[in-house]
Amino acid sequence: MSSSQRSDLQSDAVSSHKGFKVLGLHGGRHIEKAGRPGEASALDNINSATVGEISSFLDEAGHNQETSRIPAGIIIAGPSAPHTSLATQLAKHENDSDSNRIFVTLSSGSGSHLKAILKTLIQKATSRQSALDDETDEVQTTKQKSTKLLSYDLQLLHDFVTERHLQQVVVTIDDTEAFDSDLLSELIELFGYWRNRIPFVLLLNLATSVDFLQQRLTQAAVKCLSGRLFDVAPSSDVLEQVLDAVTSSDAPSYLGPIVMGAALERQSDYIQSIDGFVDALQYAYMSNFYANPLSLFLKPTLVREEVPDDHFEALRTTNSFRAWARRLLDKNRATEVKKVLQDNGALFDLARRGIGDGRATLNGMMLAVTVVRTLQQSLPNTFVSRKSSLYVQAMSGKLAGSAMLRALHLTVRKVPSDTAVKILQSVLALSIEDRALSECADVATELDELVRAQAEAGKPLRSEEDIRNSTLRTTVHAQKVELSKHKTSLSQQDKDFTALLRRFTDILTRFFSETLVNPKTLLFNEIFVYDLRSPHREVFTPRPRHAIERALASPHDYLDCECCAPDAEEREEATLAATQPGTAILYQLYLESGSLINASDLWQAFQAVMGEEREEGQTRALFQRALAELRALGMVKSTRKRVDHIAKVAWRGL
C-alpha cells in the first residue's frame, strides 16, 4: 500500500518536472499569455455598468451639497461581498476622471470603538494625499499650530478638506454586516452632524438586504442617510461570462471535465468570488503549458525544426495516437501508420492536423452547447441549463445521449408554429456555419410560407404531436376502463407543419450527434484538453492536517526507507518501530491514549519502543524533542488537571 501511495504522492511533482526538463520553455508562454486577455477583459467588463452608475451617483451627490442627509450608495454584492474588485474598479475609474474626492475604505477591523474608527478614518484620509503632493504641507503645519487637536477629532479632516478644496470624502464600508450595529449607527450620526462641513458620501457593501441594514441602524442614523441601491452582478453570472471568454472560438486549449468540474464545484460550494475561479483556470493553463511538453504543438507558428525529437516519441506514446493507429490497422491502412511511426515529419503534420481538427470539433461542441441553450431559452416553460454544467457534461461526453436532450427534442416537436418560427429565428441568428444547420434556413423559409398562408386563419399551426391534437378517451367496457388515444384529423397545413418540424428536429439530432463527441476519442486530445486532477487539487485544496498525520502515523510513506517498511503479513503490529523518527513513535503512542496522558508512562512506553540498547540520554533527548514538536504542532497542551499529565487535543482523522 505504502509504496504505491508514495509513488502516487510524488508522481505529480515528477510529472510536472518532466515538462521543465524536456521542454525548453519555449513556445508555451506566448500562447499562454495570449489566452489570458479575453479572460481579463471579461473580468473588467463584469461590473462596468455598476461602476459607472456609482460614479455618476457620486458626481450627482457632489453637485447638490445642500441636502442635510448623507448620500449613501448601498451596494448589494450578495454573498461574494466584500467585493474588492468593485472597490478597485471604482478607484481606477476615479483615477481616470480628475475629480476632487478622496476614498477611504473602512472595514470592521478598523477599530472596535468610535474613537479608533475615527482615528483610522482620519489617518487614512489625510495621509494618503500628503504623500502625493508636498507643496501644501507647510499650510497644513502652520494652520495647525494654533490648537492641538486630538487624533480622532473630525476637525482635522475638516481642515484637510478645506485646504485641499475637496468636494467629497467617500467612505466605503466593506463589510457592513460585520460592524457592530451601535458603532455603525454612531458613526453615521456623527457623519450627519459634520455633513454641513465635511462632504461625506457613504458606500455600504451589503451581503444581505437593505431591510436588515435598516433594522440594525438606529432611527436617527437612518434619518441621516439618503440611500440609493446598486446591484452587483451575481457571482454565477460572472462565472458564465468568464466561461464564455475561456471557451471562445480561438481558445488554444480546453479544460477537461474533471478540472472544470472540480473548479466549478469548489466555486459554488466554498468560494463565491470570481477570483478563485479565475485562479483555478489560470493554474490549469499554467499546468498544461508548462508541465505538458506536448503543448508545444499548440504554438500557431511552430515549424518542424523547432520540435526536439523526443517530443515525437512522446506523441507516439499517447493513448489517442495508439487508438488512432489501431483504428487504421483495423481498416487495413497499415502503410499510413507505418509512415507516421517512422517519419517524424509525417507525424508532425499529423499532429498539426489532428490538433486543428480536434479544436475545431471542440469549438463545434461549444456551439452545440450554445444551440441547446438557445433552444431552451426560446421554448416556453423550459429550464435553461447553465452553460457551466452543460460544458462539463459535453466535455465528459455525456451530453450526447442525455435525457435532457431527448426531452428537448420532444418538446420541440410539440411546439405550435409561432414558437417554431421564433426558435428557428434564434437558431439562425447564431449564424453557425455548419453543414447540418445550414438546412435550417430552408426549413425556415418553408415555414414562413406556411405561416403566411395560415395567417388568415388567425390561429397557429399545430403539429401532430401537440397534445391538443390528440384526445384521450376513456370507455368503460365490460367493467374495464379502456384508455385510447385518438388523433384528431389534421388539416393539410398542419400536416405540412408537422413534417417541417420533423425535418427540423432531424437536423438538430444530426447536428448534435456530429458535434457532441467524447473529447477523449479525439486524436491527440492529450494536447489540447487539459484534464489532470493531480496538481490542481493539492494546490488549491490542501489537506495539511492529513499530510501531517500521515507523515507521523506512517513515516514510511514519505521516507521510503527499508527499516521502517511494514511487513506484508503483520501490517498493523509493525507500524511502531524503533527505527522510526522519534516524533512519529510518540505520535503513534499518543494516538492510542485517552484525552489525558501521563507523561511518565508515555516516557516509559517511548523508551520501551526505542529499545534498551540505545543510550538513555539519547532517548531522553529524542523524547523531549518529540514532545516539543507535538506541542508545537498543536497536538498536546499542558493541563492542570493532574500532575505531570498532558492533554490530548487532536484526534486523528476527525
Binding site: A13, T84, T583, N598, A628, L633
Partner: protein, 595 residues
C-alpha cells in the same frame, strides 16, 4: 432514577453514614431473612484505614470488636437493628413505599434514633444478594469498590509503566477490562471512546525531573545523535528541490506559495532562496526578505521594517505605528513597484508570534500586491483556520506539501517547550550557568544569602530524604509518594489505567523488587515541604550578618525573584517557603561555586 440515587447517596454521605443506595432493598431482604449475626472478615478490610471515609467512623463506633470487612460495612444497613425490632410489624408496608427519597430519609431518621447502637453483619447470603444488586447498580459504585480493595498504590499491569512492581491487587480479583480500544474504530468513535466518562484513567506516576534534560545536555545529545534516516530525509529534500523551477514559475505568475507538512522547511526554503537568487533575471536580481517567524519577539513591526529597508529609498524615515508603516509600504509598492517582484519569505507564518489577526491581515494585504511575492511555510496542521475568505483571497496561495522530516532545530526551544508543557518551572534562566552569571553581578550580601538558601535547601532535602517523605528526586520513591498524595482523590487511578499507551508486547517483565510500602503509606497526605521556610532563612541571614532588617532581606530576595532563581510556595500549613528551582546536582554545583 440515577439522579435520584445520587441524591440519596449524597444525603447519606453528609451524615457520615456508610452510603448505600440499595440499602432499603437489602434491608428488606435481611428483615425477612432474620439472619444470625455473622462476623465474616475480609482481609482487605484493613485497607479501609487509608481512606479517611466515614465508614471508618462507623466501624469504630460499632461495639463489635472484630475488624469488619470494609466492603460489608459499606453495604450493610446500619439500621438493621431497628428493622429487626420491628420484625413483627408488616415489612410489606415499607416495601410498597417506592419513594427512594422517603426511604433514605426514613433510614436516616432511624439511624439517628438508633444512635450508637451497634450494627450487625449480614450473612454471606445477604452479601451475595447485595453484590448482585450492586452489580447492576452502576459503574461508579463498582469503581469505589475496586478502589477500596486496592487503595494501595499500584499501577495496573496493563500500563506500559516500566517501574511496574508486583503490586496491586491479587490477580484473581481483577476484573477483566481491556485497556485498549477495540481495533479499527472510525475516528469519531475513537474520539468518543477516548473521551467517555470515566474512561480516561491514567496512572499517577510522575515524571522524575531528572528525566528532562537541561539545555546543555540536550544540545550535546542532539548533536551526537545520528539520524538513521539521514539519507532518506536528504532524498526527500532533493525531491522537493526538483520543484524549485515550478515554484519560481508560480511566483512569477502572481501566485504566492504556502508550504506545509511535517518537518522543518527552513533548510528547503533557504535553498530555494539561493536558487532564486542564482537565477539572473532579465531585470537583475530579485530582492529577497526573509522573516524568521519563530524568533521570539518577532512581530509585524519587524516584518514591516525589514520590508521598508528594501522597498523604500534610503533615508526615508518609517513611521512608528504598524498601520502607518503598512500604508507607506503599500503606497510605495503601488507607485514605484520594484523591477523584479520582491520575494518575501516568512518561516512559520502560523507561529504564535504572527498569529494575531491584525498581523495576518497586514501580511495578506502586502502579499496581494503584484510587486511582492510571498513564500510562507506553515507548521501546524490547522493553519488554514487563520484566514477567512477575504484573507485567503488576498494571500492568493498555492499550497505545496513539503514534508521534510527534518528536525525543527531553529524553530523550537525544545527544553523550554517541554518544561512549559509539563508545568515545570519553565522560565528559569538558562539553567545553572545563568544563575551563576546573575550572581556575579550581584553584591556580596546577595551572593551570601543565596549560598545560605541553597545550603539550607540541601540540608532540608537531606534530612527529609532520610525520612523518606520528601519527594527526593529518586525514581523509586516518586511514584509511591505520589500515590500517597493522590491516592485519595484518584482512587480510580489504581483500578484501570487503559489510556496510557501500551507497549505493544515489547514490554519487559517488571523486575523491580517489591518495596516496603508501609513507610509511604503512613505518610501524611500533604505534599512534603520543600525548600526553606521564610522565617528560618531570615534568621539565618541575620545571624550571618547578611542583612540587618527584614526590609533589607526582602530587597535581596526580590532580586532573586526577578530572575526566577527563587520561587516562593506556601506549604499546607500556610507558611511561606522559598525554593531554588533546581535539581539536586545543580544545587550542589551552585553551592560549590558560591563557597
Amino acid at each position: 432514577m440515577a439522579k435520584r440515587r445520587r441524591e440519596v447517596e449524597e444525603v447519606v454521605n453528609d451524615d457520615l453514614t456508610p452510603r448505600k443506595t440499595r440499602r432499603s432493598a437489602i434491608k428488606d431482604i435481611s428483615a425477612t431473612a432474620s439472619s444470625p449475626v455473622s462476623h465474616a472478615e475480609t482481609p482487605s478490610g484493613r485497607k479501609g484505614i487509608l481512606r479517611g471515609t466515614p465508614t471508618k467512623a462507623n466501624g469504630t463506633a460499632s461495639a463489635d470488636p472484630t475488624p469488619k470487612s470494609l466492603r460489608k460495612v459499606l453495604f450493610s444497613t446500619p439500621a438493621k437493628h431497628g428493622q429487626d425490632e420491628g420484625d413483627e410489624e408488616t415489612p410489606t408496608a415499607t416495601r410498597n413505599d417506592r419513594s427512594a427519597r422517603r426511604k433514605s430519609q426514613r433510614t436516616l431518621q432511624k439511624q439517628v434514633a438508633d444512635g450508637e447502637e451497634s450494627e450487625e453483619e449480614e450473612d454471606a447470603r445477604d452479601e451475595a444478594v447485595a453484590a448482585a444488586i450492586l452489580g447492576e447498580a452502576g459503574s461508579d459504585i463498582d469503581d469505589d469498590n475496586d478502589a477500596i480493595q486496592v487503595a494501595e498504590p499500584s499501577s495496573a499491569p496493563d500500563t506500559p509503566s516500566k517501574s511496574g512492581k508486583p503490586r496491586g491487587r491479587p490477580k484473581g480479583r481483577r476484573r477483566e477490562r481491556t485497556p485498549s480500544p477495540p481495533p479499527d474504530l472510525p475516528p469519531h468513535e475513537l474520539y468518543f471512546f477516548q473521551n467517555r466518562a470515566g474512561g480516561n484513567k491514567t496512572s499517577a506516576n510522575t515524571l522524575a525531573s531528572n528525566l528532562l534534560l537541561t539545555h546543555e545536555d540536550y544540545y550535546a545529545q542532539v548533536t551526537a545523535y545520528e539520524d538513521p534516516h539521514e539519507q532518506d530525509v536528504k532524498r526527500l529534500q532533493q525531491l522537493h528541490e526538483r520543484g524549485f523551477e515550478q515554484w519560481r514559475f508560480e511566483l512569477e505568475e502572481g501566485f504566492n506559495l504556502c508550504l506545509y507538512g511535517y518537518g522543518s522547511k527552513r533548510a528547503l526554503v533557504m535553498e530555494f532562496a539561493e536558487h532564486v537568487y542564482a537565477q539572473v533575471g532579465e531585470r537583475g536580481k530579485p530582492g529577497i526578505v526573509i522573516v524568521n517567524g519563530y524568533t521570539p519577539g518577532v512581530g509585524i513591526r519587524e516584518v514591516l521594517t525589514a520590508l521598508g529597508g528594501v522597498l523604500l529609498p534610503k533615508g526615508v524615515k518609517m513611521p512608528a505605528q504598524p498601520a502607518a508603516m503598512e500604508d507607506m509600504l503599500l503606497s510605495a509598492l503601488a507607485e514605484a513597484p520594484p523591477k523584479q517582484p520582491l520575494l518575501l519569505i516568512i518561516h512559520s507564518l502560523d507561529h504564535p508570534n504572527l498569529r494575531k489577526p491584525a498581523t495576518q491581515a497586514t501580511i495578506a494585504r502586502l502579499a496581494a500586491k503584484p510587486g511582492l511575492n510571498l513564500l510562507a511555510t506553515c507548521d501546524t496542521p490547522h493553519f488554514p483556520l487563520l484566514w477567512d475568505t477575504s484573507l485567503t483571497r488576498h494571500l492568493h496561495f498555492l499550497y505545496h506539501d513539503t514534508t521534510t522530516f527534518q528536525p525543527y532545530r531553529a524553530e523550537f526551544d525544545v527544553v523550554e517547550d517541554v518544561n512549559a508543557l509539563l508545568g515545570r518551572s519553565g522560565r528559569r534562566l538558562g539553567g545553572k550557568d545563568g544563575v551563576g552569571y546573575v550572581l556575579k553581578s550581584l553584591p556580596e550580601n546577595a551572593r551570601n544569602l543565596f549560598r545560605i538558601l541553597v545550603a539550607e535547601q540541601l540540608v532540608v532535602a537531606d534530612s527529609e530524604g532520610d525520612a523518606a517523605t520528601i519527594p527526593a528526586y529518586d525514581d523509586s520513591d516518586i511514584d509511591a509518594d505520589a500515590e500517597a498524595i493522590l491516592g485519595d482523590s484518584d482512587e480510580e487511578a489504581a483500578a484501570n489505567q487503559q489510556s496510557t499507551p501500551s507497549r505493544r508486547g515489547r514490554g519487559r517483565p517488571a523486575k523491580k523488587p517489591a518495596k516496603a510500602k508501609s513507610a509511604s503509606l503512613t505518610k501524611p497526605v500533604v505534599s512534603a515541604p520543600q525548600g526553606v521556610e521564610y522565617r528560618t532563612l531570615y534568621h539565618k541571614a541575620v545571624e550571618e550578618f547578611v542583612c540587618s532588617s527584614e526590609l533589607n532581606f526582602r530587597t535581596l530576595l526580590k532580586e532573586f525573584h526577578d530572575h526566577q532563581m527563587v520561587e516562593s510556595r506556601k506549604d499546607a500549613g500556610g507558611t511561606e517557603r522559598l525554593v531554588v528551582p533546581f535539581r539536586r546536582e545543580e544545587l550542589e554545583g551552585l553551592l560549590e561555586e558560591l563557597v
